[in-house]
């Protein structure tokens, strides 16, 4: 199955972009600037309110018509859709964890004469990250599952090759799809263990920021 490269590339790109989006959006929603806050709020609601597959099609088919520019390739449409979608979900986690760090921590940091940037970087953030870890692990698996959608916009991932194999020999369909499922499961296994480990870390309380 040659498609495995594409699946992994899309997955990694989506994870990086998704986390980046999540942190940016999460911090924007906590900013003091009301316009920034409302705009990010709108972004999060829109992307959480519609389904990923619709966003994917919209970015792939509709966006180039609307604004007259292409995203370059189906690769970027896929990565963008997945990372914007899951970025929206995860930004809520970022926001929630930062808000749930005890208020006394902020006050103590202020009392120690830290700037607001230092406060966030040295005191609040390291504590918040620990709370984010288990949820972030779950979303890793979600994103892996989401990468299967990119075959619908013509990317040659595992599922795409599976489809081709199936149409070349119809009676092989069960084996082919079972293989595809197992491939995804093998990809997911390290993520599952990673998630469990992250949960352990966040419970033990030895996470480093």
């Amino acid at each position: 199955m040659q498609g495995i490269n594409i699946t992994i590339t899309v997955l990694i790109a989506s994870i990086v972009c998704g986390y980046l989006t999540a942190f940016i959006a999460g911090f924007c929603r906590l900013s003091n600037n009301i316009i920034l806050r409302k705009l990010t709020g709108l972004y999060v609601e829109v992307f959480r309110g519609t389904s990923l597959i619709v966003q994917l099609f919209w970015l792939y088919y509709a966006l180039p018509i609307l604004f007259g520019f292409d995203l370059g390739s189906d690769f970027w449409a896929g990565v963008l859709a997945i990372s914007l979608n899951y970025g929206a979900y995860m930004s809520e986690i970022v926001r929630g964890s930062i808000l749930s760090v005890a208020k006394g921590q902020t006050e103590a940091a202020t009392a120690l004469n830290m700037s607001s940037f230092q406060r966030m970087r040295l005191v609040i953030f390291p504590q918040a990250v620990r709370m984010m870890l288990p949820e972030f692990g779950n979303y890793l698996i979600q994103m892996l599952k989401a990468t299967s959608l990119v075959s619908l916009i013509g990317m040659t991932d595992i599922l795409y090759y599976g489809d081709i194999l199936r149409s070349s020999n119809l009676s092989q369909a069960p084996t082919v799809y079972l293989l595809v499922l197992i491939f995804y499961f093998i990809l997911a296994l390290p993520l599952i263990f990673l998630t469990r480990k992250m949960e352990g870390i966040s419970k033990k309380g030895v996470a480093s920021g």
């Binding site: 309110g49 389904s51 619709v54 099609f57 892996l144 599922l159 489809d163 369909a173 499961f185 599952i192």
Partner: protein
């Protein structure tokens, strides 16, 4: 917006896309019902006190949960008819109900499980002490206490499933996404119909998300005040 947006196309596509909404909503509820019932099955399978069986079922659940629903749909729709002996051809709608239903039943099983584990241990012991049969224990004591706290989570899953249902358009269920795509193919205009679909999803899922939020707050208040739940029998069944 620039000149590529065409309101005529928008209003031309609107009725056609709307035609699919009944199927989309119907499919959502069918899948949801299936998942609710199947979720119970997982719970009882996992409670079988045989260790090896328990292990196998846990990993089956993990397998279903961590592989893409899209592939599972394809498996049920394309591959199931080819499986010897037990295989049979299913129409797209049934395949979608089965595929998405089974996928989400593993999640819903977890929700049930957390609800059941949340029931105080003393309740089990008390019902045993009162000489309740196993059936009575579940229907009269445990489930009425386990399900209501889980209702907001279950509601969340309804919304999540609603957003996954368009996957079924890939195997030919004529929901709103399928309608939008076929309009796009006919008129070579994808922008407007796909935008309609996005707007429809937003209109339908946003208010329900707010509703669930309110429900959750209400529930939290209720359970903070008193842990005992009255009149909750049959709230989900």
């Amino acid at each position: 917006m620039n000149g590529n947006w065409n309101w005529d196309t928008f209003f031309d596509a609107l009725p056609m896309v709307l035609e699919g909404i009944g199927i989309t909503i119907g499919l959502t509820f069918a899948c949801y019902l299936f998942a609710l019932i199947f979720g119970f099955l997982w719970i009882f399978l996992r409670r079988i006190p045989v260790k090896s069986l328990n292990w196998i079922i846990t990993w089956i659940m993990e397998f279903i949960r961590s592989t893409p629903p899209l592939v599972q749909l394809f498996f049920i729709f394309y591959a199931w008819p080819m499986v010897p002996v037990i295989g049979m051809a299913l129409d797209p709608f049934t395949s979608a109900v089965l595929g998405l239903g089974i996928h989400f039943s593993t999640y819903i099983g977890e929700v049930y499980r957390s609800g059941i584990e949340g029931v105080d241990k003393g309740q089990w012991e008390a019902s045993t002490a009162l000489n309740f049969s196993i059936r009575q224990k579940w229907t009269k004591i445990i489930l009425p206490q386990a399900i209501p706290p889980a209702i907001p989570m279950l509601g969340n899953y309804l919304i999540i499933m609603f957003k996954e249902v368009p996957l079924a358009s890939t195997i030919g269920v004529v929901g709103i996404l399928h309608m939008a795509n076929s309009y796009g193919a006919q008129h070579w205009a994808y922008l407007e119909p796909l935008t309609i679909v996005a707007i429809l999803f937003l209109i339908l899922s946003y208010p329900s998300a707010i509703l669930i939020n309110k429900l959750e707050k209400k529930m939290n208040r209720r359970f903070d005040k008193k842990a005992i739940v009255k009149n909750s029998k049959g709230a989900v069944m």
